[in-house]
Amino acid sequence: MAKCFINGIGVIAAQDVLLPTDQFSTLNEDVNLAVEPVYKELIAPNLIRRMSKGVKMGIYASQVALNEANVTVPDAVITGTGLGCIEDSEKFLKGILDNDEQFLTPTSFIQSTHNTVGAQIALRLQCKGYNFTYVNRDSSFEMALLDGLMQIKADEEQNILVGGIDEVSDHTIKLLQIAEIIRSEKNKNAALYAEGANFFALSNTKQENTYAEVVDVIICNQVADVNTWITEFLAKNNTSISEVDAVVMGINNTEVNVQYNQSLLAVFQHKTILHYKHLIGQFDTASAYGLGLAAQYMKHKKVSDNFIYSGSIGSVQQVLLVNQNFGKDYSLVLLKEAN
């Protein structure tokens, strides 16, 4: 059975800081837009004009990951997104509602489907291989990762691009504030929201610049006993909580999440715990940033203090990523030092 390595990472997030070893500041806004790169460095200007933000972010981040891994065309493209191309969806829907279904043009409809980013990446790279898009809230990215991992482990493919993309859009933000998902005057304890794109070049071949090995991924919509679930997952992978050097948790400490986070934290007492959602915000594929953070930490053996929730930074051979939101969409990702 082949191993699955992370050989390239591309990140666009709410803070313009490339390495998690640099200093970040804690987010304060209810909604935090991504700091967008100079797209024309990697995308032709005539294409940029027609692309929505999610597509631009996705293409840019994916190209950075592929470049780093030295892959021209991957064998498969697998993306995850919670809300998909919400900006174009809104635009097309407003056109329908505001003008009584008249004077519509197809562009925003064409770009509104959830698979637009994956499709545009494939089109641009002329990648005719496997192409999937997962749209399942907080485990959208982890399912993309699990899918890629399964194919590499089974020797079906050699190089797979996986990523998570989510963009914010005005009307949807307002609705999610009414629904108390995003912080506002109505609910001061709801999440600080954001957007971003995080892509990874997975490969069956270890390279000089390999970050880490993805050992296993598990997803569960609801978990009654987190301790047993985590222990069994680690045991299945011939390891244990005591052998895990650090835990990277998607902690979004909104009121509804406190109890779920508490029971997870109780499993990892006295462990080094890193967190990131206070720095890059909450969105359905925010946990993909956590994978980048964990991979960078394993490679550089250090991260900035901003990420440390508890414990200290030191030698690191195994990292466990944990994520959930509203007590749903639990996921675990086990990383090992590449060797």
């Binding site: 969806s89 496997y130 192409n131 999937f132 749209v135 359905d284």
Partner: protein, 397 residues
């Protein structure tokens, strides 16, 4: 990866029936489900025909015994209705007695309610709970909760090929040992959003759709949900289950040609079929019937036809598109057609490609136009979507 993937249950609700038996009866007796739209007001009322499920939201709610405070949109209601049938046929009362996953798919998610309440949400607190039913994952989460499933739940959205990919992922989870049983399928309700979207692309027909006909004018949109219960063969046999058919092969490829149009020679479609045949370890001549994507748009049927000729040469098996019965049900299409494929194996028959009169000029492909009996061991089902997403599933006896 040697485990065989058995199908032990199916559930369906479409324009041609609210159960597997009703759907088969309609296919057998040429009863189509296409007509004028009645679900909601649209200014295109008289220019289009659609395939509506003949149950209202209230009827669906009642049959599911949902509490009054639920926030199911029609997409979730249709999905839950079909999932329950599938579990019943597979004789599953406890979803967690085996390692079970649920993989759903949708293209519009809760758009049918979002478009109704988009501005009203700001004024009416009564409907606030539907805000969080917009996203594609909502229906999957609600259905998982309804059937009490605690395990892997995920949702796929690759436009009109979505449910084929759900079936494919389900089969792969079983083969890799990550699940013993997977409920797979898709659900999509009709919405103004999709009707206007396809309208702007000028691929909606104002008549009954005519797949693979030279004078085809486009598609009729439809709504549906269908789910299949997949089980590792040894798990199904140990439980004494009746195996309806097997998922023997699957292939996924990207056409990488255009965001909405298919390539002239059907590269993606051809690659998907080729991969599926390889996974199933069968030669093209082993395929007895092809349930084509056949949307009746000028572009799809030409591209798919060319891909069929590339994959099967001058021996293209008997084929038909069932979309003249149901309309194009988007993310659910591959799921309802999976049910029809299994029924073709169970009943040893081929469905008519209705409304076909004139062969296409570009090639000599003539679909089956009558309901006929035939020995059917292997069925290949195609589904293609926006974004170049092409998928093929092969079902065997």
């Amino acid at each position: 990866m040697s485990k065989r993937v058995a199908i032990t249950g199916m559930g369906i609700v479409s324009a041609i029936g609210n159960s597997v038996a009703e759907n088969f009866d309609s296919l057998k007796n040429g009863k189509i489900g296409i007509g004028k739209i009645s679900l909601f007001e649209t200014r295109h009322q008289n220019e289009i025909l659609v395939g509506e499920v003949k149950m209202s939201n209230v009827e669906l709610e009642n049959s599911l015994h949902l509490p009054h405070s639920h926030n199911y949109t029609r997409t979730a209601l249709l999905g839950a209705f079909a999932v329950k049938q599938a579990l019943q046929q597979a004789n599953i009362t406890d979803c967690n007695d085996k390692k079970t996953a649920f993989i759903s798919s949708t293209s519009v998610g809760g758009m049918d309610f979002t478009e109704k309440y988009f501005y009203e949400y700001f004024e009416n607190t009564e409907i606030e709970r539907f805000i969080t039913s917009h996203d594609a994952g909502h229906a999957s989460h609600e259905i998982a909760e309804l059937i009490g499933l605690e395990g892997l739940v995920t949702t796929i959205s690759t436009a009109c090929s979505s449910a084929a990919n759900a079936i494919m992922l389900g089969a792969r989870l079983i083969k890799s040992g990550r699940a013993e049983r997977v409920i797979v399928g898709g659900t999509d309700a009709l919405s103004k959003f999709t009707i206007n979207g396809f309208k702007t692309l000028m691929i909606l027909s104002d008549t009954y759709n005519t797949p693979f006909d030279d004078n085809r004018k486009g598609l009729n949109l439809g709504e549906a949900a269908a789910y299949l219960v997949l089980e590792a063969e040894e798990v199904a046999l140990a439980a004494g289950k009746n195996i309806l058919a097997y998922v023997a092969g699957y292939g996924n490829a990207n056409d990488a040609f255009h965001q909405t149009a298919s390539s002239e020679n059907g590269d993606g479609a051809y690659l998907a079929m080729e991969k599926a045949l390889k996974v199933a370890q069968i030669l093209p001549e082993a395929v007895d019937y092809i349930n084509a994507h056949g949307t009746a748009t000028p572009n799809n049927d030409l591209s798919e036809g060319r891909a069929l000729i590339r994959a099967f040469g001058d021996k293209v098996p008997a084929f038909s598109s069932t979309k003249a019965f149901t309309g194009h049900t988007l993310a659910a299409a591959a799921a309802i057609e999976a049910v029809y494929s299994v029924l073709a194996i169970q009943n040893q028959c081929i469905y008519p490609n209705l409304n076909f009169k004139t062969p296409m000029q570009e090639f000599h492909l003539i679909p089956e136009t009558k309901f006929v009996s035939a020995p059917i061991k292997t069925v290949l089902s195609n589904s293609f979507g926006f974004g170049g997403n092409c998928s093929t599933i092969i079902f065997t006896k």
